[in-house]
Amino acid sequence: MSVKLPEPIQRYTTEHDEPLRQGPYRSALRDERLAAILGASLGILFSICFVTGLYSHVHQHPLSWLPIPARPAGLYRFTQSLHVVAGIASMPVLVAKLWVVWPRFVAFPVAKRASQVVERIGLFPLVAGGIFMTFSGIANIAQWYPWRFSFTASHYWMAWVTMGAIVSHVGSKWFITRRALKRPSRRPALAAADPVLRTTAEGPGEGLSRRGLLTTVAAASGLLTLTTIGQTIRPLRHLGLLAPRDPTVGPQGFPVNRGAANAGVVDLANSPAYRLEISGRVARPMSLTLDQLRALPAHDTVLPIACVEGWSYSAPWSGVRVRDLLDMAGAEPDRTILLESLEPQGAYRTSTLNSGQADDRDTLLATHLDGEPLALDHGFPCRLIAPNRPGVLQTKWVTKVVVL
């Protein structure tokens, strides 16, 4: 390839096989070891996001051969808080990493070997995927949807693309990363005259050092974590200056994502014609009024509502056990059930419970929250509350229980 670029552009390109710091990119921070540390950190953070994201996906798209157990009760809450915390923390790392390796983006000729062609093509899904995953995740927790695609589906499938690109990238950077991480962390390599450039890097004290940059990245990640984690850790809520939710703000002092008015259920939920129907494969189909439902033996439990968007709260609920209702209706043991909401439409108007989830002692159709009747926005007349479950599948305004 003997293509020549025009001189003004040529001046800002780099050589593939030379160190990161070259040509006009003279900062001592264009450094192999920094790239390795930031890259390894990103790899870990993105892997945490991927695994916890997969876990949420399996909740929302149940696999018959992999039934999700109802316990531990707080597992979903923990994994999704971790997903959002790791995702937010990865943003400064991603930005720093892209800056450090910038000279590699502008390498020209674009590739000299077949392996380099493969590697550089792979950079596209890597960088574009990393930026997209971070941007779409942060937009989603702020409930900002400037696009027309479904966030959940696109974030999920792009996660595979991004993870694939990471796998490929790890293979191509394996040796250089290992060597860079092994090298003792000392400044001479930065301060010494570079034989290629015949220039001296900035001396210590002027501009950020390598450790200074890593501290800066950690400070940025830490600051974002500190100012958002209050949306899931209640005692830290006063620090949640940039948290999209406050775990104490909402009807009855608890947050909701989708209120009754926006779900279009206000009239249906308040109507005296409301009934809870238990049907499907049962011996005795039932149709209960709200008074009849409230007259059934109630059970108390403390369970979290945990949103995939990283906010959560734990609250005392009270209501009738789903398994008691199923037994009253004469459902067979080992039963899968479908719950239907009063909501006329919406992706989350129904949800299913496998037999382990349906039969858990804490799986309730709750009529009370914190000792008071449920507010309309929390799912009045009754809502599902079950352990280890995405908030969006804790179906509100339940009107039908169908045994499948």
Binding site: F132, Q143, S154, W157, A159, G164, G171, S172, A189, A192
Partner: protein, 152 residues
């Protein structure tokens, strides 16, 4: 501190061994799986619209954000005296990241009507508080550094 402390690039870095090709094959198989999912579920993923955001995000970074940050770095290196420079660089980087993260909150794009839960804070004021703390800490560090390391 002789130039000899710089290790030469080793052959390992350049030669693509089996590890490279196996990871590349596995990685591209996973990428393929993801792409197949995007096209199979095209009613949800809207590939055209999705591509605009995926490609657009990368281009926005590569053609606009990255060159601007590099330019800003060059200007900063010239404008800020050596002893304060590292701290100003760090404070600017943290500020930029926090501002970028808060942008959709400050603009209240996701504000839902009829829902008191939605975006409960005054994010403009809160962002200013966070930035104020960042720069107060930075100013304190600059003062300490100027006092403890005079005339370097």
């Amino acid at each position: 501190m002789s130039p000899a402390t710089l290790e030469p690039e080793r052959d390992d870095d350049r030669r693509a061994g089996p590890r490279f090709w196996i990871s590349a094959a596995a990685g591209w198989a996973i990428i393929g799986f993801g792409l197949r999912g995007i096209f199979e579920k095209s009613l949800d993923t809207r590939p055209g619209n999705l591509a605009r955001f995926v490609v657009g995000g990368a281009l926005l970074h590569d053609l606009l954000v990255a060159p601007l940050v590099i330019l800003l770095g060059v200007l900063l290196a010239r404008a800020v005296p050596g002893r304060a420079r590292a701290i100003v660089q760090a404070a600017l980087a943290v500020s930029g990241i926090v501002a970028l993260f808060s942008y959709p909150l400050v603009r209240a794009y996701g504000l839902a009507v009829n829902n008191p839960t939605s975006l409960p804070h005054n994010y403009t004021a809160n962002l200013l508080v966070v930035l104020g703390v960042v720069w107060a800490v930075a100013a304190g560090m600059v003062i300490v550094r100027l006092r403890t390391a005079p005339g370097r």
